[in-house]
C-alpha cells in the first residue's frame, strides 16, 4: 500500500518507494540519503502542522510536511533488520 511519508503515524517504519517532483528539493533529499529502498521511521511530529522528525541511516532529519508529501512510501521489508537508532 502506497502512502505519503507525511501520513505516517509517530513510531511507524516505512520504506521509501520514490520521490515525486524534481529539482533542488529532490536532489537535496537524495543527498541526505532518502533514496528508493531506504527504510525510515517517523520519530515525532511537531504540533500545529510543523515539521516531522524522521530517523534513517542512524541519524535524525527534520522535514517540513510539504516536503514529506513528495515522498511516497510503502510497508517496510520484514527481512530488513538494520534499524539503527540515531547517534546524531
Amino acid at each position: 500500500m502506497e502512502r505519503y511519508l507525511g501520513d505516517l503515524k509517530t513510531g511507524e517504519w516505512a520504506r521509501v518507494e520514490r520521490i515525486d517532483g524534481g529539482g533542488a528539493l529532490r536532489r537535496r533529499m537524495m543527498d541526505m540519503g532518502i533514496v528508493p529502498g531506504v527504510e525510515l521511521e517517523v520519530v515525532r511530529h511537531a504540533p500545529f502542522g510543523g515539521p516531522l522528525q524522521v530517523r534513517l541511516k542512524g541519524y535524525y532529519l527534520a522535514m517540513r510536511r510539504g516536503e514529506c508529501a513528495k515522498i511516497i512510501v510503502t510497508e517496510k521489508d520484514p527481512q530488513y533488520t538494520d534499524h539503527l537508532l540515531a547517534s546524531r
Binding site: 537535496r28 515525532r44 542512524g58 539503527l84 537508532l85
Partner: protein
C-alpha cells in the same frame, strides 16, 4: 601548498582550522556570495601552507550556495590535497560526500572526527579498515580536545607532496548504469577536457547534465599579501573572483537524447547515481563499523522523549522559562542591591579622603554623584545581565 578542509556542516572543520591557523587568518566573503571565506597561512617543515575552511556541504552538486562554493573552489582553484572531515557518529551520510570528492580529486586524507560521540553511542570504527576499504589514509581525531590534529595535517602534507596521484577506490555502479558511464567516457576520452577533469567524473556529470561542464573559467586574484593578519571588521573581502571565459559544446548530446528516450532522464540519472553511492557505502560499512546495542537510546533520545513530548513539552518549557526569569530578575535582586551598597560604601571612603585632602566641592560632587552614583546605577544591573547571559549561553550550547 594549498590545503582545503571539506565536510558536512558541524563536523568540526572550523575547530581544526582555528587550532591550526590560530590568529593568522584572513576573513572575507566568497565573491558575490554571503558566505564567509576563511583562509590562513601556516608553516610546517619549510613549507608554506595555505589552509582554507570551506563552507559545510552535504554534496558537490550545484544546488545551494555552499555546495557551489565548495565545488567551484575544488574545480577552479585546485587544492593540492583535501582534508575531508567525517563525523564518525554519522558515517554513512558523511561518506557520501567523501565518495563525491574522491571522484574529483585523488589526493585526500580522511579525518575521522567525533570519535568521542561515536564511542558513547556504542559505535566503533576501525580506521585502518576504513582506510583500506577506500584506499585513502584515515586519521582519528577529536577536534574539540585537540587530539590528532597535527597528525591529520602531516598526513595531508605527505599526500600533497607525493610524486604521483594515489589510486583510491572507484564506486562500483550497477551494470546498466556502468555501461552508460563507459559509453560516455568513450566519447570524452579524446577531448581536451580530460586534461582538466578526471574522465569518470566528467562522464557522470555529463549524464547528470551538470551546468559546470564545458565552462572555462579564469581566476582573478587580488590577493592581499600573505602573513598579514587582517581585521575581519575592516577587510575588503573577496580575495578571489572567477570570470567565465567561454562555454564549449561537449560531445554526447545525441547519446543523452537516446538515453532520454529509454527513460534515462536527467532526474533518473541523478537518482541512480546517488542511490548507487549509498548502496556502495552500505556494502562496505560492515568492514569497519560495529554498532553495539544499536537499539539502546542515547542520553539525547531519553531527554528528547520528555522535552519534545507533545504533552510534557509545554510544562517543561514553561518551568525552564520561569526559572530563567526568576533567576535573572528576582534572585539577582539582592546581588544588585549588594553592588549598590558596596558602591555607596566605597564612594563614602573616597569622598572622605577627598574631604580630608580638602579637594574643592565640585570635585567631591563629581566623584560622589557623577562617577559613583552614575556608574553604580549601571553596575547594579550587572548580576541580572550576567545571570541571563549565562542561561542564554547554556541554551545555545545545549542546542549543539
Amino acid at each position: 601548498m594549498k590545503i582545503a578542509l571539506i565536510g558536512n556542516p558541524n563536523v568540526g572543520k572550523s575547530t581544526i582550522f582555528n587550532a591550526l591557523t590560530g590568529s593568522n587568518q584572513q576573513v572575507g566573503n566568497w565573491a558575490g556570495k554571503t558566505v564567509e571565506r576563511k583562509s590562513g597561512v601556516l608553516q610546517r617543515a619549510n613549507q608554506t601552507i595555505e589552509l582554507i575552511d570551506l563552507p559545510g556541504t552535504y554534496s558537490l552538486t550545484a544546488y545551494s550556495q555552499e555546495e557551489i562554493i565548495t565545488r567551484e573552489y575544488i574545480l577552479r582553484e585546485r587544492p593540492d590535497v583535501v582534508m575531508a572531515m567525517v563525523d564518525a557518529s554519522n558515517i554513512e551520510r558523511n561518506l557520501y560526500l567523501v565518495l563525491q570528492i574522491l571522484e574529483l580529486v585523488p589526493r585526500i586524507v580522511i579525518g575521522l572526527n567525533m570519535m568521542d560521540l561515536a564511542h558513547s553511542a556504542g559505535i566503533s570504527i576501525e580506521s585502518s579498515k576504513l582506510a583500506s576499504a577506500l584506499k585513502v589514509p584515515v586519521v582519528e581525531i577529536v577536534a574539540a580536545k585537540g587530539k590528532g590534529i597535527e597528525e591529520f595535517l602531516s598526513e595531508a602534507i605527505r599526500v600533497g607532496s607525493m610524486a604521483s596521484d594515489p589510486l583510491p577506490v572507484e564506486v562500483s555502479y550497477p551494470a546498466d548504469l556502468e555501461q552508460k558511464i563507459q559509453a560516455m567516457e568513450l566519447l570524452l576520452v579524446d577531448t581536451p577536457w580530460v586534461t582538466t577533469y578526471p574522465l569518470r567524473w566528467l562522464a557522470i556529470k555529463c549524464l547528470e547534465r551538470d551546468p559546470e561542464i564545458g565552462q572555462k573559467w579564469s581566476i582573478s586574484s587580488t590577493k592581499l599579501p600573505v602573513n598579514k593578519t587582517v581585521n575581519s571588521c575592516c577587510n575588503n573581502g573577496d580575495p578571489v573572483s572567477y570570470e567565465l571565459q567561454e562555454v564549449a559544446e561537449l560531445p554526447g548530446e545525441s547519446l543523452l537524447a537516446k538515453y532520454e528516450e529509454d527513460g534515462w532522464t536527467q532526474d533518473h540519472f541523478e537518482m541512480a547515481i546517488a542511490d548507487a553511492k549509498y548502496r556502495y557505502i552500505s556494502s562496505i560499512l560492515p568492514q569497519f563499523r560495529k554498532h553495539e546495542n544499536p537499539n539502546k537510546p542515547t542520553l539525547t533520545d531519553r531527554l528528547d522523549s520528555w522535552i519534545l513530548s507533545p504533552f510534557w513539552g509545554y510544562p517543561i518549557m514553561l518551568v525552564i522559562l520561569a526559572l530563567v526569569f526568576w533567576m535573572s530578575f528576582i534572585a539577582s535582586a539582592p546581588l544588585g542591591g549588594a553592588v549598590s551598597l558596596g558602591m555607596a560604601w566605597v564612594a563614602d571612603i573616597v569622598v572622605g579622603l577627598l574631604q580630608w585632602g580638602q579637594a574643592p566641592e565640585f570635585v567631591q560632587s563629581l566623584v560622589r554623584d557623577g562617577i559613583f552614583a552614575g556608574v553604580g546605577a549601571v553596575l547594579a544591573f550587572v548580576p541580572q545581565i550576567a545571570i541571563f547571559f549565562a542561561f542564554f549561553h547554556l541554551c545555545r550550547i545545549a542546542v549543539i
